[in-house]
Subunit: 228 residues, 2 copies
DNA sequence: GGCTCAGTTTATCGAGCGATCACCAGAGAT
DNA sequence: ATCTCTGGTGATCGCTCGATAAACTGAGCC
């Protein structure tokens, strides 16, 4: 291996990676760069992070936009790998426990500088993938949570939650989400114990849902219009 | 007035504004542009919106950064003109009513595409003015709300709220804020009745605060059991 | 009328951007 | 040892950016 070492030093930067390795390295470092600088971050700055030259990027991606799309795909799909259905819908465990664990796991996945910044940057661009994600949170998380809450409260499990219920869940979810924004985007001091924050938020959400469920049995809630 | 009209049309673009007018026009249109495009929006695009040429900007602002700072100043100070102290601290009115009215007025001020986008863009840049604003929300809104809540619950009005209380208030506040983000940044469907959303959020926050205050008398802040 | 001065434009600079093309170099097969 | 294939580089193009300097212009004043 190292017999017959030539006088000329080997390049400190290890070059000549396999195509797959180099490609995924581009995506990884691009995620870091774009998280910090926004998607205006330059291809030259990206190449510098890899220790390669800028044109090399174009051997792996037709354009910067394609690289960005790859970054989206990776970032948006990251938190989906944690098996939500089981955590939320396993009725052999108490609802309170399920919700606590789900939000601890979910926030473990998305509460970091990289994910949150990419998410907000792409949200500001108004991309389809962002809308898709928001819709997925609604359908796969909030709707499911509400269904479990209704079941737990002994209410009829209707197929779709009411607009008011959904909004309640959104405000709850958004409150937790905003904890991450405060900590990792604003870098503001927050209550360090994340699990405690989730627990407290859950307390008031569940108490609020109960109250709402109770009053719903007495008098019917007025239907509330939602724009599409 | 229109006798003896010369052949050559008068310039459609009204030029030669007074210095003050032109300057504030720059700030106004820059706010709109940066809200849409982010602060990467170009000075030429800005000039086009005013119907003038790009170098004119530099007669009014030494650099683009100075213009941006002016935009911050205007945007961040906008919602401060609504007299918070009176709305929150006027104990002649019921707490619930004060909070409802405050959040309706406050969200009227900040829930619009322009404000929210500028706010998020500047938040992502991690600027001092953003930290200042977050600190101000904490000191001038949340701390005040908590003090009023403690007073209302017959608890001792301590000078500063506990970290857990503050976090509770932040999650509540963040949940409401996130409503605006969902509507104006994500452009997702939301419960159209903003007052209703605030009312529901207040219900669960106040109920949660009460419970927390009750259990605080036991020197114990155990998670509240949900009756099923 | 002619002077003045402030608001505005024309022309241009240097730097950085994304992207392209011809070329280089080194590991593996022969 | 030489060939070949492919990962990687150097040079450069066209464009846009923020910023500067000099020239223009039109309303108000004498």
């Amino acid at each position: 291996m190292n017999r017959k070492m030539p006088v000329k030093r080997v390049r400190t930067k290890q070059k000549r990676l396999s195509a797959d390795d180099r490609r995924s390295e581009f995506v990884t470092k691009a995620t870091e760069l774009f998280a910090e600088e926004g998607f205006g971050g330059g291809t030259r700055a990206l190449a510098r992070r890899l220790g390669v030259t800028q044109p090399l990027l174009y051997r792996y991606f037709p354009s910067k936009d394609d690289l960005i799309k790859e970054v989206y795909r990776k970032v948006y799909l990251e938190p989906l790998e944690i098996g939500w259905e089981k955590l939320l819908s396993d009725r052999s465990r108490p609802l309170r426990v399920r919700l606590q664990e789900f939000y601890e796991v979910y926030t473990d996945a998305i509460f970091n500088r990289r994910w949150l910044r990419i998410y907000l940057y792409s949200g500001l661009k108004g991309l389809d993938i962002n809308r898709w994600y928001v819709g997925m949170v609604k359908d796969k998380i909030l709707t499911r949570i509400l269904r479990e809450c209704r079941h737990d409260a002994g209410l009829a499990t209707q197929s779709r939650p009411s607009a008011a219920e959904l909004e309640l869940a959104w405000v709850f979810h958004g409150g937790i989400f905003y904890y991450g924004v405060r900590k990792y985007i604003y870098e503001a001091p927050v209550l360090e114990d994340k699990a405690q924050m989730i627990s407290d938020a859950l307390d008031i959400f569940l108490a609020g849902f109960e109250r709402m469920a109770e009053s719903a049995t007495d008098r019917r809630r007025a239907p509330i219009k939602v724009v599409g």
